[in-house]
Assembly symmetry: C2
Homo-oligomer: 241 residues x 2
């Protein structure tokens, strides 16, 4: 495997890998939160009304909170990178000798000694930008967050809602067309299973693992979560009736 | 601000900052997902039974899925670091000249030239571990994920459930003691508000921002999500009755 190939795997179609990641994790969370409502209702044999009520309440509230949470998390990462960078600039102004010594230690650890070490330290500390950049990478091991918070939040919100509505669709359709369909939960399970397979397939691009593993992991995760919700519904319904 | 002070902020009491982060984000998500159920039910004037049914179904299903998702995400980050590291070891064996040139370019960009540059390249490429470590930091800008996936998943699961059960507590207590209390939603709002304030306060340690901001952001986020859920409940109840 060449490095160029590895780097090119970061792109899929027209999307940047960065936003696939938000799409994948937003989608999985959206599907699982509404599928939990559907499964809990099925376990308790609750009416369609309650599936839609709690399904949409969770879809909107969780989708909102997840995307806003994502916005703050990405923004904080960017802010902290800048903050630490400013601290380094401040330190090379005010604690110059200490910071020169840190550069010396970084390169001594790489095996440089004597005059060679001193010459390298001199070159690096002669340019403040190079100096700070070297400290960020070698000492703090911080890398710049390049994603834009508004974009990641938007990608999260869209995928949370688009994928998250899938478990509810059979109930919505049955209601609109006044269908007397007893297999709504089964249809929802199949639709959610297919959605999780697609999202799991995309997940393998993000995680750089075999696609079979992405699909199986995601479907199993959603399936098990729904089983737990189903039994909570069944047990609570048993207590109350 | 000195660097030592900044680094010491990473520790709070006996906890490692790493796990505070999982506690904070697990707790916020747990509280918001069950508070959405409570608020949706309040908007629709649904019975206690449905609050508990969908509250616990979501708490268990989402708590499980979030912590397993966290496990895979941290594990994948660690795996990918190791994978890229192995690729670099492979490349310095099989594409030696290409990789030597990459080291040369990295140090030329720092301002090193002529014999000094060649001497530095020679020292760094004489030790494979130093060589790969330099490529990981300077070229790929990847830093090692030091958190253990099982620990982060466990911290997420515990905080999701411990904080997430708070919005449901007034309903559980009313049911157990058979209380005829009409202000259950109000009590839940107050309890959830206090919980979000505490988690928001802890969040400011993770984000390194003022605590006032951590508290306000978190309480507003949970509050707005609940307002959305409340109106979904109210609107759906209006349609159905």
């Amino acid at each position: 495997m060449t490095e160029d190939k590895m780097h090119s795997e970061g792109k899929i179609w027209i999307f940047d890998k960065a936003y696939i990641s938000e799409f994948v994790y937003g989608g999985i969370d959206g599907a699982i939160t509404t599928f939990a409502v559907v499964a809990g209702a099925a376990g308790a044999q609750a009416e369609i009304y309650y599936v839609l009520l709690f399904g949409f309440a969770n879809l909107i509230a969780d989708g909102f909170s997840m995307s806003v949470g994502n916005f703050f998390s990405v923004k904080t990462e960017r802010d902290n990178f800048e903050k630490h960078k400013q601290v380094e600039y401040w330190e090379i102004e005010h604690l110059r000798e200490h910071e020169v010594q840190e550069i010396r230690e970084i390169y001594a650890a790489k095996g440089l000694t004597g005059q060679l070490l001193e010459d390298v330290v001199k070159v690096i500390t002669s340019d403040k930008d190079v100096w700070v950049d070297t400290m960020m990478k070698e000492e703090l091991e911080m890398s710049k967050e390049t994603k834009a918070p508004l974009n990641t939040a938007f990608a999260t919100f869209v995928s949370f809602n688009v994928v998250g509505i899938i478990p509810l669709l059979s109930y919505v359709i049955a209601l609109i067309f006044d269908l007397n369909e007893s297999r709504l939960f089964l249809i929802s399970c199949i639709a959610t299973g297919i959605a999780l397979m697609i999202v799991g397939y995309l997940k393998s691009y993000v995680t750089e693992k075999p696609w079979v593993r992405g699909v199986l992991e995601t479907v199993l995760l959603g399936g098990l979560a729904a089983v737990f919700a189903y039994f909570v519904g069944e047990v609570l319904a048993g207590w109350f009736t």
